[in-house]
Symmetry: C2
C-alpha cells in the first residue's frame, strides 16, 4: 500500500479519496476548505495545511481541484507540490485543466526528477463513487504502469493517449463532442414539443438509430421530466469549453460548433442556472424561443 497525498476533496475528489482509503492506502489530504475533508479525516486520513506539506515524503500525489489557476498554484506555487523537500516521484493531476499547463508542469517536474501525469476523468460523481470513471492519461507511460493499480481503484477504462498534455487534450475532445451533441438534443426536443409530438415517444423512435447518443438517451428523458439536477455543473462545463476554445485558437483550429455552444451556455449561466446540470441548456433555448 502507498502513502498518497490527495489534494482537492470536492464532490469528485472526496469520493475518489474515499475509495483509496477503502483500498488500504494511507492518505494525507489537503483542501482549500478544510470542512470538505472532515469526513475523510474521521476515517483516518491525515490533514496537511498545504499541497507542499501533503506531498512531502508521499509515494504519489493525486490532485483534483477547480480551475487551471488552482492546478498551477497546487503544483507551481510557493506552497505547491513541486516545492516539497522530498516530493513524490510521480504526481497525477486529475482536474480537467489546460493541456498547455499540463506540459509546463511536466517539464518543471522533470527538473526535479518527478514524473507528472495528466489524467482527467469522465463519468461524473456516480463514476467517482463507484470507481467506474474513464481516465484519459497523458505523460510517461512507465509512470502510468507504476500507478495503474491505484488508478484501477478509481476507474474502469484507463487509456494512455500520449505525452504530457494528451490526457487533457482527449478530455477536450470529449467536451467538444458533448457540447454540440447537447445543442442538437435540446433543439430536437424543443422542435418535438412545438410540433405537438410526445417527446418520450420521439426519444424511443430515434434514440436507437443513427441519431442516437448517450446525451439523448440519458439526459433527454430528464429534460422531458424537467429534472435539471447536476450530473455535471454548467459552470464546470463552461470552464472546460473555455479551455478547449483557447487551445483550438492556439492551434489555429476554427470550431464554430463549440464556439456557438459556449455562447449558448453563457446564456444558461446568465439566466442563473450555472449550478444546474449541463442539460439545463434546454432552459436557455426555451427562453430564446419565448417558451
Amino acid at each position: 500500500m502507498s502513502t498518497i497525498a490527495f489534494i482537492g476533496t470536492g464532490v469528485m475528489g472526496a469520493a475518489m479519496a474515499s475509495r483509496l482509503l477503502d483500498a488500504g492506502h494511507a492518505l494525507i489530504v489537503h483542501n482549500r476548505t478544510r470542512a470538505k475533508a472532515e469526513a475523510l479525516l474521521a476515517r483516518g486520513a491525515a490533514w496537511a495545511d498545504s499541497p507542499r506539506e501533503a506531498a512531502d515524503g508521499a509515494d504519489v500525489a493525486i490532485t483534483i481541484v477547480g480551475f487551471p489557476r488552482d492546478v498551477e498554484e497546487t503544483y507551481l506555487g510557493v506552497r505547491g507540490i513541486l516545492a516539497a523537500d522530498s516530493p513524490p516521484p510521480i504526481v497525477i493531476d486529475m482536474t480537467t485543466s489546460s493541456p498547455d499547463l499540463a506540459r509546463r508542469i511536466a517539464e518543471l517536474a522533470a527538473e526535479r526528477s518527478i514524473r507528472a501525469l495528466d489524467a482527467p476523468v469522465s463519468g461524473g460523481d456516480v463514476g467517482a463513487r463507484e470507481g467506474t470513471l474513464s481516465i484519459m492519461v497523458g505523460g510517461d507511460e512507465g509512470a502510468l504502469e507504476e500507478v495503474r493499480p491505484i488508478l484501477e481503484r478509481l476507474g474502469k477504462r484507463i487509456t494512455h493517449l500520449g505525452p504530457a498534455g494528451s490526457g487533457q487534450h482527449t478530455k477536450m475532445v470529449n467536451q467538444i463532442l458533448i457540447a454540440s451533441t447537447m445543442v442538437g438534443v435540446c433543439e430536437g426536443l424543443l422542435y418535438a414539443r412545438k410540433a405537438g409530438l410526445d417527446p418520450m415517444r420521439v426519444i424511443e423512435a430515434v434514440g436507437g438509430g443513427a441519431a442516437g447518443s448517450w446525451t439523448i438517451n440519458n439526459l433527454g428523458p430528464r429534460m422531458v421530466k424537467r429534472n435539471f439536477d447536476p450530473g455535471f455543473y454548467v459552470e464546470h462545463f463552461l470552464k472546460d469549453m473555455r479551455i478547449a476554445l483557447e487551445e483550438a485558437r492556439r492551434m489555429n483550429l476554427p470550431v464554430p460548433g463549440l464556439a456557438q455552444a459556449e455562447q449558448l451556455y453563457l446564456a444558461v449561466a446568465a439566466q442563473g442556472h450555472a449550478r444546474l446540470g449541463t442539460h439545463a441548456l434546454l432552459l436557455a433555448l426555451e427562453r430564446l424561443a419565448g417558451m
Copy 2:
C-alpha cells in the same frame, strides 16, 4: 397478399420494392427514370406510366421519391395518385418530406376517403436491403395497423407518432440531432489530429461514455480512414435540414445549432462533395482550418 403501387425506385425504393416482391406481393411500379425500375420489372413487377396509373385499383400505394415538390406532384399532380379513378384506400409516403405537405395530402386524400400516412425512414440503404429500417409514422392509427404487415417487411421499429405530419416531424427531430452531433464529431476529430493524438485511440477512449454517439462510433472511424462513401448523401441531408429549418421558422423556434450546421453543409456542397456521405462535413471543416 396485396397489390401495391410502388412509386420511386431509387436506391432506397428499389431495395424496399424488392423485399415486397420477395414477400409475394404484386407490384405495379413507376419511376421518373424507367431504367432504374428494370431490375424489378425483370422480377415480375408491372410497369405504369404515371403514379395515377400505378395506383388505379391497387390495395395500397407506397411512395419514396426525392424532394417535397416530387411528393406533391406524385400525390396532387394531374397524373398523381389522388387523380386515379379507383385510388387505393391507404397511401403511404416514405419520402423524407415536409410535415406541412403531409398534412395537406392527408386532408385532400380524406376528401376522396383515402387515408394517407407519412412514414419516413431511417437506416439507409443497408436498412432498406435488410428490412431493418426505423419507420416513423404519422396519420390514422387504424390505417397503420392495416398496413403494418407490409411495413414489417421493410422495417423493424415501426412507431406511430401522432396525426398526419407527425412521422415527418419525428424524422426532422432525427435530422436535427444528427446535424449538430456531426459538427461536434468533426470538430473533435480535427482537434485530436491538431493536438497530435491518435484519433482511433481517442474514439476508443471517449466513444463509450457521455460523449458517445452513433456518429462518433460508426462514422468517426470512417473519417479517420478517409472513407467518405455515402451512407447518406450530403445533398439529401441538405434537403432535410432545409425542411426542418423551414418548419422551425414556421413554429417560431430558433435552432441556432441546426442553422449553423446547414451553413457548414452548404460549404461541403460548394466544395463539390454533395454526393459524398454526410461525414464529408469533415472536409469542409478541414478546409476552413486550412488543413
